[in-house]
């Protein structure tokens, strides 16, 4: 029997006549939490892998002259901390890596920032289309 080469059926669920327009950019503030230690961060988010040393080692707010090494938790949309924390903990649980250390009050400070954008895409204006 000859080997079949063509697709039997092609169904599209996203594109086509009812295709949605491209996502419109939305400017939303993003925040992250800063911690005095990785352990504090991990206890808060349920997993150490979302906690990194902060390049910017300014001391924590209200802790003038405090620790020089600061850790930061994952970024999340402003007002979405609870959801982001739940999701991080749910994933850690799925992976069997949930940090069960008790939360400690006052271990973090929230800092706001707007992500910088436009750092990719400039070459397309010069080089044009892809292959």
């Amino acid at each position: 029997m000859l080997k079949r080469h063509r697709s039997q059926r092609i169904v599209l669920v996203l594109i086509g006549a009812a295709a949605l327009p491209a996502c419109m950019p939305v400017t939303q503030r993003v925040v992250h939490d800063r911690y005095a230690s990785r352990e504090d961060c991990s206890a808060d988010w349920g997993r150490p892998d979302v906690c990194d040393r902060d390049d910017d080692s300014r001391p924590l707010a209200g802790n003038f002259g405090g620790p020089r090494i600061i850790y930061r938790g994952p970024s999340y949309p402003e007002g979405g901390r609870e959801g982001a924390q739940y999701e991080a903990r749910r994933q850690a649980l799925q992976l069997g890596a949930l940090d069960m250390a008790p939360l400690r009050v006052g271990t973090h400070a929230i800092e706001q920032s707007v992500p910088s954008r436009g750092g990719f895409g400039s070459s397309a204006h010069f080089f044009g289309r892809l292959g």
Partner: protein, 381 residues
């Protein structure tokens, strides 16, 4: 292999648009169903086996470059080398972190001799929607009893499904130049996103210039962290742009992965010929034209869409323009594209998840396939 001239279907434009193929007439005529190509099944078998072979040899070449640390020939920024090595090790170990979705081998094939590799678009191949969906629908309407070398669609869904089985993330972000700036790239992106959705992924599309960086890693237009990013945007462009400094320390899983930088660079052609001289599907290629005498193609290592290619055939010289003229080049023996009437045709052979998946044909009056070359459907019996 023969060309047949046909009357285009009435209303084909609307039919293509209903499939998301809205750029069918970009640059005048792009989708061209006033002709098609017919292959014999043994010719399709030959294309399929040559494509599988070439992909494996390309992996051998990548392995060699990594083992011998020949990154300088590829112009790879040193700080991206660890990402290349890590991702290739993951790929070799079957870890999803090295996952590669697809690539397109561009071949010179006349239906009689062995297909010859012209280049491997292994990082950001386009014309996927055309090859997978548009020509399949054309086949259903015009040659319903014939076969087509095209199972790209189901292989894409299979590939995404396989990636999902071992993934820790549930969401893939898809990034390309915006639809406004490049309808072709965005159309391809939306199609690939469609196949990921059908494999059960949650997806988000983001124009590449809307990607943000928030301290530790990349975020999307809604400030949501990006964990897995399919980017239809070249690695070498990303590396040299403002956010390129964040790539070496990023936690994001990129698709295509960093190791594909070794396959999408035309220095690969030199390495392949060095490792596999006289391979029937390869052409002699060097960093210097001298061994090729007066017949060769000069190609910038990182050029795309046939830009800045020069074909030298004795005193006869054909040249394409483009923005890559200052780049380092490779020199490859000529393998002229077959001519049908006034047109030259090249074969783009798709590799999906490591396997040959189908072909798309491009036609042009020029001997150099360019971004303006027409896409022509095919069938086989």
């Amino acid at each position: 292999m023969r060309r047949e001239l046909l009357a285009p279907r009435e209303g084909w434009q609307q039919q293509m648009e209903s499939l998301g193929f809205r750029y069918h007439s970009i640059d005048g005529v792009y989708w061209d169903e006033s002709r098609c190509y017919c292959f014999g099944s043994e010719q399709v078998d030959r294309l399929e086996s040559a494509s599988a072979e070439l992909h494996q040899r390309a992996l051998d070449a990548a392995r060699h470059v990594i083992e011998k640390e020949r990154y300088r020939e590829f112009g790879i920024p040193p700080d991206l080398v660890p990402s290349i090595e890590r991702s290739f090790a993951a790929f070799e170990g079957g870890d999803g972190a090295g996952f590669s979705l697809f690539g397109r081998l561009d071949l010179s094939y006349d239906g009689a001799g062995a297909p010859k590799l012209l280049e491997y678009n292994a990082d950001t191949p386009t014309a996927c929607l055309e090859a997978s969906v548009a020509q399949w629908h054309w086949l259903q309407a015009v040659r319903p009893r014939a076969d087509q070398f095209n199972s790209i669609h189901e292989k894409l869904i299979d590939a995404w499904t396989r990636l999902k089985s071992g993934a820790t993330s549930e969401r893939v972000h898809f990034a390309a130049v915006s639809e406004e700036d490049s309808p072709e790239d965005w159309g391809n992106l939306e199609y690939l996103r469609d196949t990921a959705i059908q494999a059960g992924w949650s997806t988000v599309a983001v124009p590449i210039d809307q990607i943000g960086h928030a301290g530790i890693d990349f975020v999307d237009q809604d400030a949501q962290p990006i964990e897995c990013l399919f980017k239809l945007y070249p690695w070498e462009w990303m590396a040299r742009e403002e956010f390129g400094v964040h790539l070496p320390v990023s936690h994001v899983q990129f698709i295509e992965p960093p190791w594909k930088m070794l396959l999408s660079n035309k220095a690969l052609l030199v390495i392949l010929w060095e490792l596999f001289p006289d391979h029937p599907n390869l052409l002699p290629a060097y960093y210097d034209p001298a061994p090729l005498g007066a017949r060769y193609a000069r190609k910038p290592k990182l050029a795309r869409e046939g830009a800045n290619v020069t074909l030298v055939d004795g005193a006869r010289i054909e040249r394409s323009d483009g923005p890559y003229d200052a780049d380092d080049c490779v020199f490859q023996a000529l393998a002229p594209l077959p001519r049908f009437g006034d047109d030259h045709v090249s074969v783009g052979s798709w590799i999906v998840n490591g396997e040959p998946a189908g072909i798309g044909l491009r036609e042009d009056e020029s001997a150099i396939t360019r971004n303006t070359s027409r896409f022509v459907p095919h069938y086989f019996t």
